[in-house]
């Protein structure tokens, strides 16, 4: 069975539309303006998901799905935000659990309507079940089993009120595989028309279904190597907190990075796949890790000395990252010298997104949060490979 990675794009758009419906439903209920910030589809192993969610507490509702989609959908709020949610709901804090259940029910109903419309088939929801969950227990049943699952996450932003939530949906793999295959034909037709006869055509992005689980190992191997290299260079114990590969609209990447000031390095990747890699620290983290690497305290927290240290760190991290990829994919990838960046996070990545947008609308984003012990420093790695070249590399991998 083959899956066109663009079919993931169709699924993602669907999740995005569903999230908009959920936002409208919730906005009407609470009287807030809600906007969908980010919707992403991720492919991850159970082990990665367990790591990604460790230490998080969530409150929300889950429903079972039957009909057009089978599986489970979960709407979750961060436990820390629950007071904010209750304060905007009719009935307020006294309603507690029933208010959350009602919100979840309405928002999930809105979300699934979008999918049902698209599929032309009703999706039946079981009555919502309220839950409070630690760590990965928030995820739909079955998310932690198996070695390559799809998960759709949407984050909403409530303008004027601090309120956002995530929707996780893990359709049972059988029916969902059929859905992806069904969309493959549609995506291929649309792609052929839209491409205007461009080289490669729609098949350029088709990969065997089994290769999708390789995506997860790309994220994992890359970030583990990068962390090892930091450890060797600095002598600090370094761990990877989160590493996931998600399929997101490229235009969402800047807002995901956010508007806080960031410092770090950006690289261009050459080889199979080509693309960009950005390693971004908060200003405090950047200053802290630079200071830890320098023999003496720098004159300025983020001056020339710190810039050199961060470039050197970026170099070893990036070479670790792409070595990890090259091992998984069996290809050779090289990188440009580091370019130091210090600006609004989203402004820093927007030129990378613009550059890739000439050829693709969706991107595979590898999120890796790498943490060093002893000093407070954490960075996010955004890897943005060319989708056709990545698909081609995965294709070759499946043939060997």
């Amino acid at each position: 069975m083959r899956v066109d990675v663009r079919a993931l794009g169709a699924c993602n758009r669907l999740a995005e539309r569903g999230a908009e419906r959920a936002a409208n439903a919730l906005g009407e209920l609470t009287g807030s303006d809600l906007a969908v910030e980010v919707t992403g589809a991720s492919v991850a192993t159970g082990e990665d998901l367990a790591e990604a969610f460790s230490g998080r507490e969530s409150i929300g509702v889950r429903v079972g799905l039957d009909g057009g989609l089978e599986g489970q959908a979960v709407l979750a709020f961060d436990a820390e935000q629950i007071d904010g949610l209750l304060s905007v709901l009719p009935g307020g804090a006294s309603m507690g659990r029933s208010a959350v259940t009602e919100v979840g029910n309405i928002a999930l109903g809105g979300f699934l309507d979008g999918w049902a419309n698209y599929l032309g088939r009703a999706i039946d929801m079981t009555p919502p079940r309220y839950f409070e969950a630690d760590g990965a227990a928030v995820l739909p049943d079955g998310a932690l089993a198996g070695d390559g699952v799809f998960l759709f996450e949407s984050r909403l932003d409530a303008t004027g009120t601090d309120l956002d939530f995530s929707i996780y949906m893990l359709p049972d793999s059988g029916p969902f595989r059929d859905l992806v295959v069904g969309k493959t034909a549609t995506a291929a037709t649309v792609g052929a028309e839209g491409a205007g006869g461009s080289a490669g055509g729609a098949n350029a992005t088709a990969v065997p279904y089994e290769s999708l689980s390789t995506f997860a190992s790309l994220a994992k191997r890359g970030s583990a190597n990068a962390a090892d290299n930091i450890g060797m260079m600095t002598g600090l114990e370094t761990t990877v907190d989160v590493s996931r590969l998600r399929f997101v609209p490229l235009a969402d990447v800047p807002s995901e990075v956010g508007t806080e000031p960031h410092a770090g390095t950006v690289f261009e990747l050459q080889g199979k796949p080509s693309g960009y890699l950005a390693i971004l620290f908060s200003e405090e983290s950047a200053a802290a890790i630079a200071e830890a690497m320098l023999p003496m305290e720098p004159d300025q927290p983020l001056g020339d000395m710190a810039e050199n240290a961060l470039c050197e760190l970026g170099n070893v991290m990036t070479s670790g990252f792409i070595d990890g990829w090259a091992n998984v994919l069996g290809t050779s990838i090289s990188h440009s010298p580091p370019e130091f960046v210090h600006d609004i996070g989203s402004a820093t990545v927007s030129p990378l997104v613009a550059s890739l947008s000439r050829r693709q609308d969706y991107g595979f984003v590898i999120d890796a949060a790498i943490r060093t012990e002893g000093i407070q420093a954490r960075c996010d790695v955004y890897a943005l490979p060319d989708e056709r070249e990545l698909a081609a590399a995965l294709e070759r991998l499946s043939e060997t």
């Binding site: 663009r6 794009g9 009287g31 303006d33 906007a35 932003d157 303008t159 004027g160 649309v190 792609g191 839209g194 491409a195 205007g196 461009s198 235009a251 969402d252 990447v253 800047p254 807002s255 990075v257 956010g258 508007t259 000031p261 950006v266 261009e268 960009y276 440009s336 370019e339 960046v341 600006d343 609004i344 996070g345 989203s346 402004a347 820093t348 990545v349 927007s350 030129p351 990378l352 997104v353 613009a354 550059s355 947008s357 000439r358 050829r359 693709q360 609308d361």
Partner: protein
Amino acid sequence: MSHLTPSGDRTASNRGEPPRRVKVGVGDLAVVNDGATLTTSGLGSCVAVALVDPVTDTRGLLHAMLPSADGNASHTPRPAKYVDSGLGTLVDELASAGASPARLEARLVGGAEMLDLTAAVGPRNVDRARECLEDAGIPIVASDVGDAVGRTVRFLSGGDLAVRAADGFERTL
């Protein structure tokens, strides 16, 4: 993509509340005619084009990533991704929302040269925006473009455009 964003019953004027805020994402545009504030953040090499009909206070904001839709083999039509197609769509939507295209005036922000790796994108976005606005006969009344700095903008009722740079410097265009 956002189009004319519904204000529901929560307009600013009838309740004395702060104006509604409408966020415009990357490769997106929005039009308002109820006094709402349009915002877009993290403008690096992207360019923001803010258009207002000062008589009706109908305003629109475009946040485009790339100069031109021509020659791109992208598979999803998304006009606001490009300066030229985005500007055309923005003017059409403003007209539908009650603006007179002949009265429109433009403010232009962004197009920074953020990275050496991709240095050409920002200036090309700005050049394309100037060309398209000239072709459409829309005067540029103010601009804050170029340099190597990220920017965030708020497009306020009345047509003022508040620009905040990454270094904290703020100005109103």
